[in-house]
């Protein structure tokens, strides 16, 4: 990777070994938790070039190339643990694939469990893996945003993530400035503030 291109957003996705991945669909209320966590993490902290912070959406098997390329993998997601809404859970190591598949909140988890097993089959599996999960409250609100219960857990979820990253000796620095052009993890229109401000009235939604 030519050094003069390090500022290009793509550069951060072509050469790294630690993947911080938010998965879920921002259009489905609490399903968007994982993506909102990495969005906030990216806003608050700076990382070394060996770290890739990624909005994985609901890409399923198409996330396999990135999972295989990572030595350390930290995932944020909404998981049905059967606990009170908003409850956070940190899962580490071998338990992660199991938790991704026990009770599926949504389809992307079936897909992601398969990503993990395909990575195992391919012989390229991260040395370290951790999952920060939240118990969702509401999913059936297409076009909606996170519920207040789940939204207020983003901060604590990042706290758990920092513990994991410290253990992995991944350097992380608090940002003192706001994000520059091209530094966001997704399009501006989907960033949580713009997304919520532009939220159209849900007339006719539901049955």
């Amino acid at each position: 990777m030519p050094a003069e291109n390090a500022n290009h957003p793509a550069a951060r996705q072509l050469d790294w070994d630690t993947l911080i991945l938010g998965i879920g669909n921002v259009l489905w209320a609490d399903e968007g938790f994982g993506v909102r966590c990495v969005e906030t993490l990216n806003e608050r902290y700076r990382f070394a070039s060996s770290v890739c912070v990624m909005d994985g959406g609901t890409q399923g098997i198409f996330l396999l190339p990135w999972v295989r390329s990572s030595r350390r993998l930290l995932i944020f997601d909404a998981i049905d643990f059967g606990l009170l809404p908003g409850t956070l859970k940190l899962i580490v190591g071998d338990d992660v694939p199991t938790y991704m598949g026990v009770k599926k909140v949504s389809m992307h988890q079936a897909g992601f469990q398969e990503v993990l097993s395909s990575a195992q089959l391919s012989g390229e599996f991260p040395d370290e893996i951790a999952l920060v999960g939240v118990q969702p409250e509401l999913l059936d609100d297409y076009g909606g945003s996170l519920t207040p219960t789940v939204k207020q857990q983003i901060g604590p979820a990042l706290g758990l993530a920092r513990q994991v990253l410290d253990r992995w000796k991944v350097e992380i620095t608090a940002r003192t400035d706001s994000l520059g052009t091209g530094e966001r993890i997704g399009p501006d229109a989907l960033a949580i503030r713009d997304y919520e401000n532009g939220h159209p009235r849900l007339t006719g939604a539901g049955e």
Partner: protein, 597 residues
Amino acid sequence: MSKTVTANGFALDDAGQRIVVDPICRIEGHLRIEVNVDENNTIRNAVSTGNMWRGLEIILKGRDPRDAWAFTERICGVCTGVHALASCRAVEDALDIEIPRNANSIRNLMMLAQYTQDHLVHFYHLHALDWVDVVSALKADPVATSALQQSLSPWPKSSPGYFRDVQNRIRRFVESGQLGPFANAYWGSPAYKLPPEANLMAVTHYLEALDFQKEIVKIHTIFGGRNPHPNWLVGGMPCSINVNETGAVGAINMAWLNQVSDIINKSITFVDQVYIPDLKAIASFYKDWTYGGGLSGKNVMAYGEFPAIANNYTNESWMLPNGAILNGDLSTVHDVDPRDPEQVREFVTHSWYEYPDPDAGLHPWDGVTEPRFELGPNAKGTKTNIEALDEGAKYSWLKAPRWRGHAMEVGPLARYLVAYARGQEDIKMQVDGLLSDLGLPITALFSTLGRTAARGLECSWAAHKMRTVFDDMMANIKAGDVATANMQKWEPDTWPDDTKGVGFGEAPRGALGHWIHIRDTKIANYQAVVPTTWNASPRDPEGNIGAYEAALLGTPMADPEQPLEILRTIHSFDPCLACATHVISPDGQELARVKIR
């Protein structure tokens, strides 16, 4: 009903046992299939229902049209770029924005890379296991597998030792009990016809395709700035290009362009030396499995894709042409105009929506999305636990799109039939070559395997086309044109008060259209008609059945509790990814759990 013949000529009989295959899936193509089989377990009635309501229109209403692409990218878990592209085209059409030549080339490259990747992933990871028996591969002789491989292509990974290593790797994986991607299949079923060596070769290439996927996604990362949701821009592409040694920081430079060029070469080699030989080898063992044709021998449609000339979305420009074929008459190809209110119309007679005039069809610009969920009088179960649908009433969250009133099949086979019928030389050569290698007539294409074969040929076509498009783009850049975006009409004060646009093209899965109505600089209405809606469509007021329903008819099932045959045919359309499905018996008891991916 009991026995009837549909308006589009298919005999239906719902007297026999009802089998329900219900994927639970929250991304695009959330699909449930119900069939009736006769006393010989042959499918005599088929019901396809999409059981999720998306309401994209409601999310987009009132938003800035320049942002629509970002939202549409998220409506489907897997086809991100294709929606972004259709959305940009729709807005550009509405606002009369012309994109620069390089932007057109980059969009073509992104889409061609998407075709190549999607088709490969579909074949090896989503569809091959309907034909390839992983457990049988463990019994293969690596020496014989090596000989088989070397007889098929010059692909270098072909030694007996290599196949032995892979076989051991798979054995360890299977013996550890973690079947992973190989779970939920019907290993050992008599419906699998390949000898162990062909199975081992195909499973080996399954793993190689996973490796290859790591390469090809870099094209999207480089041109889209990020992945798996690349950046798009109304008016062009949001990347700058600098082929000089010095200059703008943050531009795509020569080193990256060389990397793209290298990936294109690798793609061509992999597809031509691995995918195509595998396709032929597998097909040669299934020549007698001629089922699944459905609408493909009657009505197919393509909007056209890959404009050779920027901003020209007509057959003068499309590298894969636009057209519709009716009643299997390959001698006449009709032009398809997504703007014409008489051509593309959606019906909701059998869909869970309400129109002012219940049996009328609406053009997407006038589209209405008012949900009305109700079960018909002959449905079994409750609204929250449907045991069997009543296809005589409303039964799907998908609308029924029709072209001039006809149900149409869309997708790679439709595109290839349209191009073939239009006499396009590159496509004709590919198709005739494959048919002559396999000793099959053109009518063999009208089948599940024909659909699968067309996708493979198109993957090769797309990989080679990346080379031409890339070389053209480089020549243009080197001639001094580096423009990638046209921002003249970026500001809303340059827009008309009230305007409509359509963005159409071909996603890997088939014809895709986005229709937008912009009023006072905001989105007033937005309708997307996606490939799955065409193919998985419910019936219309005339009783015409859609492509999925038609394709399943007449297929004999070895064992209705193991619906491998249904999966083969449905998978051949490339429905959405990773839908876990349940097979439910008529009394609601779970019979088996299968994967429809």
